[in-house]
């Protein structure tokens, strides 16, 4: 039983790996082609999320973990996103303004 389980592992590892390389190649192609900036940005957002998920699910075996093991990476990732967005009003949108503008 161990044997078969692990062999299934082998095939999926190789597929995941192939997927990762494929997505990377797509990323490089996308930025060298002549697409709009926003389109590239959205595309990269998708590929990065897909790659990270592939690694986490298969290489880090999150796929076969209990739900609360998922929480451990999910919560800080969520917090990170919230934190970065909370910085936008101050750091991103304020930066271009001069001191006089602020007053």
């Amino acid at each position: 039983m161990h044997e078969t389980k692990s062999n299934v592992g082998l095939a999926s590892y190789i597929w995941v790996f192939a997927g990762l390389i494929f997505l990377t190649a797509l990323e490089v192609l996308a930025v060298s082609a002549d697409f709009s900036k926003t389109a590239v940005l959205l595309f990269l957002l998708g590929t990065v999320a897909a790659k990270a998920l592939l690694i986490a699910l298969f290489f880090m075996h999150l796929k076969s973990e209990k739900w609360w093991v998922w929480l451990l990476p999910a919560l800080p990732v969520l917090l990170s996103i919230l934190f970065i967005f909370a910085l936008f009003p101050d750091i991103v949108y304020h930066a271009a303004q001069t001191f006089e503008h602020r007053i």
Binding site: H2, E3, S6, G9, L10, Y13, I14, V16, F17, L20, I21, T24, A25, E27, V28, V31, S32, V40, L41, L44, T47, V48, K51, A52, I55, A56, F58, F59, M60, E65, K66, V69, L72, P73, L75, P76, V77, L79, S80, L82, F83, I84, A86, L87, F88, P89, D90, I91, V92, Y93, H94, A95, A96, R102
Partner: protein
């Protein structure tokens, strides 16, 4: 005991992995620094009371070059080091280090922490940090002087008078941060995994709950400030400009406000990190010494957890006057004020615990009641600070200093004393003198109000914080007499702490021998001898009831029942409420908790890069400067190493140790190849003039990838260690856990690179 008797002094007391010994190391370190910080407070109060007058007795020793009195540069150094030392090297070691280490395993019925060696390293890291900050006083230019908040651009510029002392403080704090992270991983894993049979979550003492939440907050938020401090260090020594702008950053730069966000993103949770264990401890002590179960146990735990969550989203209340977006400020105001709801819940629970109890005014109980009293003042003054419109007036005045001394120097410190008086008999096997203890309490209570309440008064008159001499301002002349008053009161306050130190030292050697349960307490720690044997319990305990079984029917001639007593009363839930067995190994849980902190560390770096870059009017893209094909190939190399790492785990699972070693070696090889390519990439770019100080993008590129490369390097070292260890069949029994754990780390590094490749190189 006999086994331990043969060990040398060094291995028993210096390099010990016993949580009880490590707790004592933390306690002594914390108490020494408490004295040190107190002495600095006195120097400040002397200066404020009698500006520029020679300091009596010790002035010539300390400030011989200036003729025995302070010069203006000294004052910022004093408040900076006083604040940093008190928060990070006095209170934190005592409450998290000592109380956490000592109480957690004993209260949950474990033999030790989940990772005893990590625990030893955790203290080691704090020790190194404390050595660095001690040395920092003797650096040319003196100690750090930019406040405990280390605000940029003051702290990030080396052209100000602030010299190497500042760098050492930053390094010292970073080491303390590492120590706390290691501690956090240990505390969380221990509480989740090592609870004795029957110790369900609803039966944990409140102290343990407080320490648990505090450890969670540490693991999550501390990495942010570590990232920020590393960037400050780069700004200081590598000529980057993450946190400076304008004339200070001629090549275009970052933003000082970003530092404040990162600092307070951690800094606010930090105050809860300190006070949560105290709240828990007070909850337990009020119950023990009222001989009643803690009122509303579940509600208390739920409010503590609610507060822990909320504490992560209120940091902006420290920045109302920073020029931050007012709308954001408003959100922070409402969130902050909402914290008072759960706070009120457990506060009322405390009072209800006392209600009609049979109160025993022992020394620890007095200190616990003292916490209730001074925390009420601290908390209520906090509400004023939280209101945007009021804070505009009182920000940076002594109102704030008074407020946070009521919460930190009064509540948290009283909590620390309550801990020491309560646990001393268990830790050292002797009792402290209760007359001296009570004297210490009453003097401290009166005197600390005499010091800290006038702070609020002078603050309302407009007395600024962080000034060395108020007499120069006409509007402050009427309150100068209060400054003199606070000077005397502080002298007596610090002086009355000598009673504690004398009591502590004398009791250590000559105190009455303590029984195993001198307070008639019900939690597990009090069922074993004082001090406990090396493995904590003669017999591994089973738990049948909650931690506060006082005055329950059926306890016979005593008025309490310990958690491990089976008894026959109706309160026995055995069977119904056994500890959940958590289906994950300690090692794996520890690694995941570690990865949580790693995620937050990279959030600090990557998040800063994202907002700085989006906010920067100068648009630079990685596509223009970087060698994309080379970096893409390098991405392939790292991805391949993840595959080989996954295959080594598969080899272990198939008991194929020959291939395990091959895959491990290949993984380490690929990792090294990645680093080599990286190195040539750096070399090439540096030669073509693109350096870490070229511009904001260059700074971010080298910092982020460099930090990632360091992670790869440590991953390689770990994998090579595994490879080396796996020669021996003895290793094979533990191989799966080790390989899996290192694999999780390795794949995580891979994910970080996937993100870096996209955000740095492709956009």
């Amino acid at each position: 005991m006999s086994g331990h008797g043969k060990e040398s002094f060094i291995s028993r007391f210096v390099f010990s992995t016993d949580h009880k010994v490590i707790a004592i190391q933390y306690l002594i370190t914390g108490l020494l620094f408490l004295g040190f910080g107190g002495a600095m407070a006195l120097l400040m109060r002397w200066q404020l009371a009698f500006p520029w007058q020679p300091i009596p007795f010790i002035g010539h020793l300390l400030f011989s070059s200036s003729g025995g009195f302070l010069v203006p540069e000294h004052y910022p150094m004093l408040f900076t080091m006083h604040g940093s030392i008190m928060v990070f090297f006095a209170i934190t070691p005592i409450l998290l280090g000592a109380l956490g280490n000592y109480s957690i395993p004993l209260e949950i019925g474990a033999q030790d922490m989940a990772f005893p060696r990590l625990n030893m390293m955790s203290y080691g890291s704090l020790f190194l940090g404390s050595v660095l900050i001690t040395i920092s006083f003797f650096m040319p230019g003196g100690a750090a002087g930019s406040g405990w908040t280390i605000y940029t651009p003051l702290s990030s510029s080396t052209t100000t008078s602030i010299g190497w002392g500042q760098d050492l403080l930053i390094l010292g704090l970073a080491l303390d941060g590492v120590s706390l992270l290691m501690g956090g991983i240990n505390y969380i894993t221990t509480i989740v995994k090592l609870r004795a049979r029957g110790m369900s979550l609803r039966r944990l003492p409140l102290t343990t709950w407080g320490l648990f939440f505090s450890a969670v907050l540490n693991t999550v938020w501390l990495p942010l400030v570590v990232a920020a401090l590393i960037m400050v260090l780069c700004d200081r020594r590598l000529d980057t400009a993450f946190f400076t702008a304008g004339p200070l950053a001629p090549r275009g730069g970052g933003q000082a406000l970003l530092y404040q966000h990162l600092f307070w993103g951690f800094g606010h949770p930090e105050v809860y990190i300190l006070i949560l264990p105290v709240w828990g401890l007070v909850g337990d002590l009020l119950s023990v010494f009222s001989r009643k179960p803690a009122f509303g146990y579940a509600a208390t735990v739920i409010s503590m957890s609610t507060i822990s969550v909320l504490s992560g989203v209120v940091w902006g209340h420290h920045m109302f006057t920073s020029g931050m977006n007012p709308l954001v400020g408003k959100a922070f105001m409402f969130l902050t004020i909402s914290i008072s709801i759960p706070t009120a819940v457990f506060f009322l629970n405390w009072l209800a615990t006392l209600w009609r109890g049979s109160i025993h005014f022992t020394t620890p109980m007095l200190f616990a009641l003292g916490v209730v009293f001074v925390f009420a003042i601290g908390g209520l003054t906090g509400l004023y600070n939280a209101v945007q419109t009021i804070d505009v007036y009182i920000h940076d005045t002594y109102v704030v200093v008074g407020h946070f001394h009521y919460t930190l120097a009064a509540s948290v410190l009283f909590g620390a004393f309550a801990f020491i008086y309560f646990w001393f008999p268990k830790i050292f096997g002797r009792e402290m003198n209760s007359f001296l203890g009570k004297l210490h309490f009453w003097l401290s209570l009166v005197l600390l109000n005499a010091v800290f309440f006038p702070m609020i008064l002078v603050g309302l008159r407009g007395h600024m914080r962080r000034i060395a001499d108020a007499t120069g301002y006409t509007f402050l002349q009427p309150v100068q007499n209060l400054n003199v008053w606070m000077g005397w009161a502080a002298l007596f306050l610090v002086g009355s702490q000598l009673i504690f130190f004398i009591n502590f030292i004398v009791s250590l050697f000559a105190g009455r021998k303590a029984s195993s349960n001198p307070w008639n307490a019900a939690s597990l720690a009090w069922t074993t001898s004082s001090p406990p044997p090396p493995e904590n319990f003669e017999v591994v305990p089973s738990v049948y009831r909650g931690p506060h079984e006082y005055s329950a029917p059926g306890s016979g001639d005593r008025d309490w029942m310990t958690q491990s007593e089976r008894g026959s009363s109706a309160t026995t839930f055995a069977g119904k409420e056994t500890a959940v067995s958590v289906p994950v190994t300690s090692g794996k849980l520890g690694i995941w908790v570690f990865l949580v902190s790693e995620i937050m560390l990279f959030t600090g770096f990557i998040g800063s890069y994202i907002v700085l870059r989006l906010g920067n009017p100068v648009k630079i893209s990685g596509l223009q400067v970087l060698n994309i094909p080379l970096l893409a190939i390098n991405t392939g190399v790292l991805l391949t190493s993840s595959l080989t790492m996954a295959l080594s785990l598969r080899a272990v699972q198939m008991r194929d140790y020959v291939n395990l070693r091959r895959w491990l070696l290949l993984t380490a090889g690929l990792g090294s190849l990645f680093l080599m390519i990286k190195f040539f990439d750096y070399l090439h770019m540096w030669e073509s003039g693109f350096t870490i100080s070229s511009n904001l993008f260059g700074s971010c590129y080298y910092l982020l990838t460099g930090f990632h490369a360091l992670h790869v390097l440590s991953g390689i070292v770990v994998i090579l260690c595994l490879w080396f260890a796996s020669r021996k069949p003895a290793f094979w029994t533990v191989a799966e856990g080790r390989v899996e754990g290192s694999g999780l780390y390795w794949h995580f590094i891979d994910i970080v690179w996937v993100i870096l490749f996209a955000v740095l190189c492709l956009i």
